[in-house]
């Protein structure tokens, strides 16, 4: 049994007077009710007859040919047999598909390479930074080592002031700088008395056992100044005293104590 409300909706439906939502709801209800479908069918026939109740107006005669001409191409299109598989038509599309796939693969690969390069560039940058840090640390260490070596070298150095032991040359002064590690040194003296040509001054290093070791001979010019680098003839564990004696030309193996002119430690 169809109630009045559904009859109203059916009437409005066949007239196209329902809104979009109402029309959808009604169609749904109609699908579930054969009785409602029958009513809509009957009412649709009413509107069909009603449509024909308008004054008769014939279309222009030439319109017939136009309408039939519009249908004719569609007829030919529709009459065509189902398209067969033709490689010539398929190949360009297949090629295009393959090209698209290749492009996609290459693009992906390129992206991967870019990411990898970017990552490795970052690593290289980090390593460079680390290298710079290490270099700076190395330089610091080298400077530290150099400073330590210098300190160590200074520790091994021995400076000795030698004073004059003779009355007629009280202004004579001399200094020795001894490097115990290298076992060599420098002797500098001023205001030494000039010696006859057959005599020389001889430098001695007195070791820890109070044994004199010859460290070299030198001759003084008229100005009384001398600078000489020296190296004793044997190992000196600890240099105790430095002394200078006046000897015969070329020096002697043992110092002549009565001719000692300078000494100090």
């Amino acid at each position: 049994m169809i109630d009045e409300r559904m009859e109203e909706l059916a009437s409005l439906h066949v007239l196209g007077a329902l809104s979009g939502t109402e029309a959808r709801q009604f169609r749904k209800a109609m699908q579930a009710s054969p009785e409602l479908q029958e009513l809509v069918d009957r009412l649709s026939r009413v509107t069909g007859v009603m449509a024909g109740a308008v004054p008769l107006i014939g279309p222009p005669p030439q319109l017939r040919a136009v309408v039939l001409a519009q249908a004719a191409p569609r007829q030919r299109t529709a009459a065509l047999p189902p398209p067969k598989f033709r490689a010539a038509l398929f190949l360009p599309w297949a090629f295009a598909v393959c090209l698209a796939i290749l492009c996609a693969v290459l693009s992906t690969h390129e992206n991967q390479l870019r990411q990898r390069i970017s990552a490795e560039t970052g690593q290289i940058g980090a390593m460079n930074q680390l290298a710079q840090t290490l270099q700076a640390a190395t330089n610091d260490l080298q400077r530290t080592v150099a400073a330590l070596q210098e300190t160590n070298r200074l520790v091994n150095l021995r400076i000795a002031m030698l004073n004059s032991l003779v009355a007629d040359a009280p202004k004579t002064v001399a200094v020795t700088l001894w490097d115990n590690q290298k076992q060599d040194g420098v002797f500098v003296a001023q205001n030494l008395k000039a010696l006859p040509s057959d005599e020389d001054y001889e430098l001695w290093v007195i070791d820890e056992n109070q044994q004199p070791v010859a460290a070299g001979v030198f001759h003084v010019e008229a100005n009384g100044s001398v600078r000489m680098e020296f190296k004793p003839g044997r190992l000196i564990k600890t240099a105790g005293t430095f002394a200078v004696t006046q000897e015969i030309k070329g020096g002697v193996a043992s110092p002549t104590l009565k001719n000692m002119v300078l000494a100090g430690n």
Binding site: G58, R64, V67
Partner: protein, 219 residues
Amino acid sequence: MNLSAQFDFVRWLTALDEIRPGKSSFLIQPVKDQETRNQDIELLQRVGARDLSAFAEFYDKYASLLFSIASRILHDASEAEDVLQETFVQIWEKADSFDPKLGTASSWAATLARNRSIDRIRASQRRARLQNEAGVENATIAEDGETANSALYGLEKAKLIQSALVQLPAEQRQPIEMAFFSGLTQHEISEKLGEPLGTIKARIRRGLLQLRDKLGDLL
């Protein structure tokens, strides 16, 4: 403007003398018998099979009906021609989907033409003007003379249909025409006529059911 005055169908009521309640089955004979329906169905099936001669035959049979509907709705001959072409192209393409269980071929084609016309109105800027004209300036259903139905059913049977239509009370016929021929919604009709929505719905329902009962076997 007094709308009800525009739907004063007193002049047509003389025709109602021939159609009285309870006599519809006597007065309206089955003018379109099953054989005619079957012919139309067969014709549309041939159209659906891309038979151009069947399409031409269908055109000859229904072009006047469809053109009359489009002309009446659009009030423009040029646009009506466009709608006629579009409608027949649609018929050509959709004939194979026509379901005879859902109505006659003529009502199906008429609905296509009507819907295309209404769509054209809704898509244009003329909607407001046509709404104003709807059911006011012109009564849609012909008072007399030859109608599109006469081209389908013959002049005598068409007059019987016309009588059944014009005997509807104006208050029922007017909202039906406004909806069907002007594409107005129930709300627009209610607003246009200044009547409650429920009243409009009820009048439309009663009008269509009355037509269904009076047209009887013709449908």
